[in-house]
Subunit: 349 residues, 2 copies
């Protein structure tokens, strides 16, 4: 089945399962004609939807799975119930055994990360995985990690995140030397908690192969001050959701203002092209796909409530990460960084 790439899809993941995953894969199949798809899930539910998408059907294979992990299953529950036989497990397992080059799921994040870690294991030299998001900025886009895989990452883990995020930015944005910033509550060296300060010190003092730009603050993310923003999972997750909430709030305020008078309504009607452009720019479906970094394989998490277009974006991300050899890049970089970190730690003893 090799030659082109194969992407395994958890067809049962997300709020509605095959009804979004299959049309989403169909859009991806149009964009990437040489890619093949492994559709994992309940065959009786996948087949009728697939029948309506002949283009996708030609490049797909269904792999039946008895169990579907529920969106509210706890990770431990999902592992117990879904081990070996759930669509989520089997999609990831296809990456492990070489049947697929990457897996995409819109299923529940905790369960997906737990299974991905269990099946694929972390890369040599990586203590903990991270979830990276692509964040729109006024200048373009940046990579932000971690979005919640590793709550309370320590200094060493933050440096591993920096290495992984930097490799992803090179892959995704085609940059030779992406700039990397550590998220903090001020740019002075004395600011922040011990882990952030220590990570900052190591990044400054050791000549790691990273273009380190120093501390950045919350508003630097959307300014595009750096290409990669590194933080531990709690803060990263809160920052992402706070930004999503603020975007919705301002859009709501804008709508209210524009419908407050007849003149405004006429103005809004004339400027509807501009509002469409704004909506497109802020469209969360264009920035869908949390990439799991630090594992022996690519797993991409799609938003559970997205539609076919959004799911297709997550598949795009997975394909791009495979094509640019992200896992190999990370493995090489981590080895290089640890060759510098280890003697430095010894010297400090």
């Amino acid at each position: 089945m090799k030659a082109g790439l194969t992407i395994a899809l958890d067809a049962m993941g997300g709020d509605v399962g095959p009804a979004v995953v299959i049309p989403g894969a169909d859009i991806a199949a149009e964009r990437h004609p040489s890619v093949r798809f492994l559709l994992v899930g309940d065959e009786s539910k996948i087949a009728p939807v697939l029948a309506r998408h002949p283009r996708l059907a030609k490049v797909s294979e269904i792999r039946h799975a008895e169990v579907a992990v529920a969106m509210d299953d706890k990770p431990s529950q999902a592992l117990r119930r879904g081990r070996g036989k759930s669509s989520m497990w089997m999609a990831i397992d296809a990456v492990r055994n070489g049947d697929a080059d990457a897996a995409v799921s819109a299923g529940n994040t905790g369960a997906l990360m737990a299974m991905a870690r269990f099946i694929l294991r972390t890369l040599q030299g990586i203590e903990r995985p991270a979830i990276a998001a692509v964040w729109p900025t006024v200048k373009g886009e940046c990579v932000v990690l971690d979005m919640g895989a590793t709550v309370g990452a320590d200094a060493r883990q933050l440096i591993e995140f920096a290495v992984m995020g930097e490799a992803m930015a090179r892959s995704l944005f085609g940059l030779e030397r992406p700039t990397v910033g550590l998220l903090n509550i001020g740019v002075e060296e004395v600011k922040g908690n011990e882990d952030v300060k220590e990570a900052g010190r190591l990044l400054r003092e050791l000549s790691l192969p990273i273009q380190y730009s120093g501390f950045v603050e919350g508003d630097d993310i959307s300014k595009g001050t750096v290409d990669v923003v590194v933080t531990e999972g709690f803060t990263g997750n809160v920052a992402l959701k706070t930004a999503e909430g603020t975007a919705k709030q301002i859009t709501a305020f804008l709508k209210m203002s524009l419908s407050s008078s007849l003149l405004s309504k006429i103005g809004a009607f004339l400027a509807q092209g501009a509002f469409r452009a704004l909506r497109e720019r802020l469209d969360p479906r264009k920035h869908n796909g949390g990439v799991f970094l630090g594992l022996n394989g690519i797993v991409v998490k799609s938003h559970g409530g997205t539609d076919a277009l959004g799911f297709a974006t997550a598949v795009d991300v997975a394909i791009e990460m495979v094509e640019t050899g992200l896992v190999k890049k990370i493995a090489e970089d981590v080895a290089q960084v640890h060759a510098i970190l280890a003697p430095a730690a010894k010297a400090a003893e």
Copy 2:
């Protein structure tokens, strides 16, 4: 000098000092005719500006201070250089000795908090202070704390923050039973770090006099899901700045879109009333004023780069906190909560 309230202003604080503080105080003087002001700072710089504001001059007194804390002074530096003789120190000290009922400064946050803690001390039963911000939501406003005073607050400190934020929401919004949420990366009990989980457990299980609504996520802040959002200082600071950055980003996107075609420009012209309403709604000057909670006195931090209108808002906040007896409310509530917490901790041993 009593009878009415007296507010001490650090006239040298902020990016430009008296040129913003004095006109700002003048606006506040118009809004609150019975309030008196103690203008602390370099008399030779305050007097000429004050001469142009006769209304303020009538209700003000200048207290000369030799030193002005710089915006980039480290807290330790500010304490060393500014102890006893800086405008910031003397404004806070006026609260301690009863010459003023509250102090407002647009000076550097770290120095202001260090001096406020040193001079006013934390309230009995409060381990660490917090900085609370008033955050605009789609429903109205909520109180969010901590904005960076206490990085890495533990469970007990988070509960103290909940108590203080709840008292502030009662004062500021006139609510009898404000709802309180703990900021987390999911609403399930198993989510988050140990401190947040433990604080959540205590708030759920003990019958504290707080309307606890459970965990909330980043996007719940702007949704207005609860009246008070509690988190430790690192996350709170990042969330606030991320939201500010996102608001600026969307405004920039909106401007770009509206100027992209002639039709859009005409539409924007017709709808200018709506955009003015939106701008007003998002105006950061209307939400200026970080309240220092947990000290024996009220200190309000104004944004350093704000203008007179923004500074006047911070003064409004200080006056409201004094008038509603915030410090006394917090002291009473904390005593009540510790009366419940202490036996519970003992029973758990």
